[in-house]
């Protein structure tokens, strides 16, 4: 009996055969940078998840929890990967109280399925994350990936009100509750956001929900240079206009976006000029607010000397907004070797953006920028092949991106890179001053270091 088969057999004795998978084909689907787990377990309840964790502690096994696995490659590859804990069987809707605008949902509930339940009551959860059609609610949360509704609704930390999870001692724990305002005890659930499964196995999440807006609007303004686009964006921020999303696309990003859009809305693509900087705004509200915002944006675009600007029709807005929401997903496959950075700078000025493009240019790489809401920058560098010279160019460029971010008192992380690059460059960037505090938190939650060891910041 192989070690893997042996592990599966032992797990089956704990969970039952129907909860354990160890076929080669399925194991491959859970691979992280060519690393395969020894077995896949699919607990249907929090108690089963806790049993698995206790089993892992006894057997000294490392667990990587996942939902739809659309963001399984985020972070560094784990140092050990014995068990893939698939949360998709924990998908119950434990509570939905439309009158209170709160819900409590199993970790593995797909976002799309949840959105249908909420929409029946005129509500929604503002987690507009990439891979939306497949993502699970806990996966979206634990990945920390950006929602394109962040500008209006904030990040998950602004509407996650409680969580249930299995800690690293195999105990069922909870934090927060099901009310919208609560300061009872430590807010441990906030720590789970973006933790990539390194602290606990999430089994249930409680959220505050929101009312679906009456209507939506979209607007696109194009500028011949970065300065014009930035000035327009500044004017929008100062105007106080309530926008759901605001994104600036560099000319190269416009070209990449057009390629993806061509599949869904070829007519609109003709209106996207890949020589221009484009600023896309989306907004929502009632029948009076939406046209007013559209008019104001047109006025601001004219004042900023936009080369072109238009109020988008509903179909074009939906297509462009949808494609930008999915940018993380499709940007990864736009060339043979891709390094996708996420950069958060305290202030976003045109000089920083130009410097980033300069890094790509000087490394003989194609560079494209997507400046998202809340001054989050997605910067992608594309190499045309997968050879050593491409890797070396990306490696050197990555070091410069990390330096630029640090110089601007910000942070850069790599959301996606070839496996070979990840073996040379830490996706989390240089060592940080708060690493010690993070290690303390990690040890508190996971004293046996069984949750995705090595995947997180500073080797956590």
């Amino acid at each position: 009996m192989t070690a893997t088969a042996n592990l599966a057999t032992r797990l089956e004795s704990v969970l039952g055969a129907h909860r354990v998978v160890a076929s080669e084909a399925e194991l491959c689907e859970y691979a992280i940078d060519s690393l395969l787990p020894g077995a896949i377990v699919r607990p249907a309840t929090a108690q089963e998840a806790a049993e698995i964790v206790r089993f892992a502690i006894t057997e000294k096994l490392a667990i990587v929890a996942s939902g739809s696995r659309s963001k399984l490659h985020l972070g560094m590859p784990p140092a050990r990967y014995d068990l893939a804990l698939d949360t998709t069987a924990m998908h119950d809707l434990a509570h939905f109280d439309p009158a209170d605008l709160t819900l409590s949902v199993g970790a593995g509930m797909p976002l799309r399925q949840l959105s249908k339940v909420l929409a029946e009551k005129g509500q929604f959860l503002p987690l507009a994350v990439p891979c939306y059609e497949t993502s699970t609610v806990a996966g979206a949360l634990a990945s920390g990936i950006d929602s394109t509704l962040r500008k209006q609704y904030g990040t998950a930390r602004d509407f996650l009100i409680g969580a249930e999870f299995v800690d690293g001692k195999g105990a069922l724990c909870k934090s927060g509750g099901r009310v919208v305002k609560n300061v009872t005890g430590y807010d441990l659930h906030k720590l789970l956001i973006g933790s990539l499964g390194t602290l606990a196995v999430i089994t249930r999440l409680n959220f505050r929900t929101f009312t679906l807006p009456q209507t939506h609007g979209g607007h696109l303004a194009c500028f011949s240079n970065l300065e014009g686009a930035s000035a327009y964006r500044d004017a929008i921020e100062k105007s106080g206009l309530a926008l759901a999303n605001l994104e600036t696309l560099s000319p190269e990003m416009v070209a990449l976006t057009a390629t993806v859009l061509r599949e869904t809305n070829a007519e609109f693509v003709g209106r996207l000029d890949p020589t221009q900087w484009c600023v896309y705004a989306s907004f929502e509200g009632n029948e009076a607010v939406v046209p007013r915002i559209a008019r104001d944006l047109q006025k601001l675009a004219n004042e900023a000397a936009a080369a072109d600007s238009e109020i988008l029709d509903a179909a074009s807005d939906a297509h462009l907004g949808g494609v930008l929401r999915e940018a993380f997903d499709w940007l990864r496959w736009t060339s043979p070797s891709v390094a996708l950075f996420r950069i958060a700078l305290p202030q976003s000025n045109p000089g920083d953006l130009a410097d980033l493009l300069c890094v790509a240019q000087e490394s003989a790489l194609r560079g494209a920028l997507l400046v998202r809401a809340a001054a989050i920058i997605y910067f992608v560098m594309l190499a045309e092949n997968e050879d050593e010279s491409a890797l070396r160019a990306l490696e050197n460029a990555a070091a410069r991106v990390f330096s630029l971010a640090a110089a601007g008192q910000g942070y850069a992380t790599i959301l996606h890179a070839p496996s070979k690059l990840k073996s040379r460059v830490c996706v989390w960037g240089p060592k940080r001053a708060d690493l010690g505090m993070m290690q303390r938190v990690k040890h508190s939650f996971d004293p046996h270091n069984i949750f995705a060891p090595g995947r997180f910041v500073g080797g956590i």
């Binding site: 009158a99 106080g240 202030q347 942070y411």
Partner: protein
């Protein structure tokens, strides 16, 4: 306290920054709660480095340390339950940086909440969390307790507005967490420390987000002849998905006390009023105000007034925010409770609070953040009468238990402190406590920072607490 500790403190920060005489210390033995505990020495550092050195000295002498802002807290969070050194941040009260372009302010913990807004309002910005005590409470205290306020309904509580912290750990180490941007890869350490009630670290610098003032605002005063109508109105506003910036309720008993004191224009013969504010873009505000008014009328509001100008709006808010002061005219002391319920349960919760009041012989007033289900029943009592005091505690315990039964929580914004630590098992299991304790110990292994807070000291909730509180009768007469 060891004489040598006092000598060392004097030499460390100067005797003008150290208080140790009983007549001075009694000023620091209470806060806004009904609890009481006296520190052995009170110190006023000016810098983070001084805080670090004081903490190291405390470790050397094995005495506890508690941080304190202006002492307006309502759960005993800033009381020296274990004696020891109290660090008062009153002299660390500088605004260190205003970055208006990026809507950030970097401040020391002793800065008064409202002073942040005063410093930036010329640029159309403000600091959103607005506790009733915002004219005197400090941002450090707000961070420790994760303070809320009326407008947190739309804008969130303190944690939603903090992007970075400088901390001093119990061994004196200075650590920075978060970032000016606020989006820091890694664990959300700011989210952990905000609201940890001074039990994990002392906060010595805070970076906060500033919010842009809304284009338009309307403040509505809805007047009701029954409390049920008012609470049903709140439930329906929520259910219809209308999110006002604030939705406050004041019952008739309380509003009459306010009116006698503030003359805010609240009708004395009404059973309850709702103070509802909507803000945003003009068109959105107009629609929301109409929708709110419609719900109020559906639930038999006798009258709905819209403040016609800033002066009238300010007066209405003055009435709301000074309510607790107004109640001070009616009884020697009052006990402001803080519980949370699911918003749809508001009508039954208010009925139950009234019944519990009757059972214990109190008229319990209600003035609270109705929109997010954050109740503040107020029990008026005379602390000189031990029976009244015990009954006030018993009534409060029963009300909080009821909140939990309804699916709510122990505290929405005042914190657990030493007021509700023995009630924590109503919500949390042994496993929950074990994890919270491990997180606590990772930062504060010897419990030298703010001991006796948040975690229950006994498993039998209540009995020990009542005794301890009776021993610590407040001096507010």
């Amino acid at each position: 306290m060891a004489a040598s500790l006092l000598r060392e403190l004097n030499s460390l920060i100067g005797s003008s920054n150290v208080l140790h005489k009983i007549e001075d210390l009694v000023l620091y033995e209470y806060d806004g709660s009904v609890e009481k505990a006296r520190p052995d020495v009170v110190v006023f550092p000016h810098t983070t480095e001084e805080v670090s050195r004081i903490v190291k000295l405390a470790a050397k002498y094995n005495v506890p340390v508690v941080g304190r802002g202006s002492g307006t807290g309502l759960s005993g969070g800033a009381l020296a339950r274990g004696g020891g050194i109290m660090i008062v941040f009153a002299r660390m009260n500088r605004i260190l940086e205003l970055d208006l372009e990026n809507a950030r302010a970097v401040v020391q913990p002793g800065v008064v909440n409202l002073d942040i807004t005063r410093a930036v309002e010329h640029a159309g910005l403000y600091f959103a969390p607005d506790p009733s005590s915002q004219k005197s409470c400090t941002i450090g205290g707000n961070v420790a307790e994760n303070a809320g306020g009326p407008h947190t309904l739309a804008y969130g509580v303190t944690v939603n507005h903090v992007t970075a912290l400088e901390l001093v750990l119990p061994d004196g180490e200075i650590v920075r967490v978060g970032s000016k941007h606020g989006d820091t890869p890694g664990y959300d350490l700011c989210g952990l420390f905000v609201g940890s009630e001074g039990t994990l670290a002392l906060v010595t610098e805070i970076t906060v987000k500033l919010t842009r003032k809304a284009e338009a605002v309307k403040t509505l005063l809805a007047i009701f002849d029954t409390v049920d109508d008012a609470s049903n109105t709140v439930a329906e506003i929520t259910a219809r998905g209308i999110t006002p910036a604030a939705c406050e309720m004041v019952d008739g008993w309380t509003l009459r006390a306010i009116e006698d004191y503030i003359h805010a224009g609240f009708p004395r013969d009404s059973a309850a009023i709702l103070l509802i504010e909507v803000e945003g873009l003009r068109e959105a505000v107009a629609a929301q105000a109409t929708a709110v008014e419609d719900v109020c009328r559906t639930h038999h509001a006798r009258e709905v007034r819209i403040a016609k100008d800033d002066a009238e709006r300010d007066l209405l808010w003055k009435g709301r925010k000074n309510a607790f002061g107004a109640l001070g005219r009616l009884a020697p002391s009052n006990y402001v409770l803080d519980g949370v319920i699911p918003r749809s349960k508001l009508p039954q919760a208010l009925q139950q609070i009234s019944l519990i009041g009757k059972k214990y012989g109190f008229s319990i007033g209600n003035i609270f953040h109705a929109g997010d289900g954050n109740l503040h029943p107020i029990v008026l009592y005379d602390p000189r009468d031990p029976r009244q005091f015990e009954n006030a505690i018993a009534a409060s315990r029963e009300i909080i238990r009821y909140c939990v039964e309804l699916g709510g929580a122990l505290t929405g914004e005042h914190g657990v402190g030493m007021e509700k630590n023995e009630l924590m098992p109503l919500l949390f299991s042994d496993a929950d406590f074990d994890l919270m304790r491990r997180v606590h110990d990772a930062c504060n292994p010897d419990s030298s920072l703010n001991p006796g807070k948040i975690f229950p000291l006994s498993k039998g909730c209540g009995e020990i607490r009542a005794r301890k509180m009776a021993e610590a009768l407040p001096a507010k007469v």
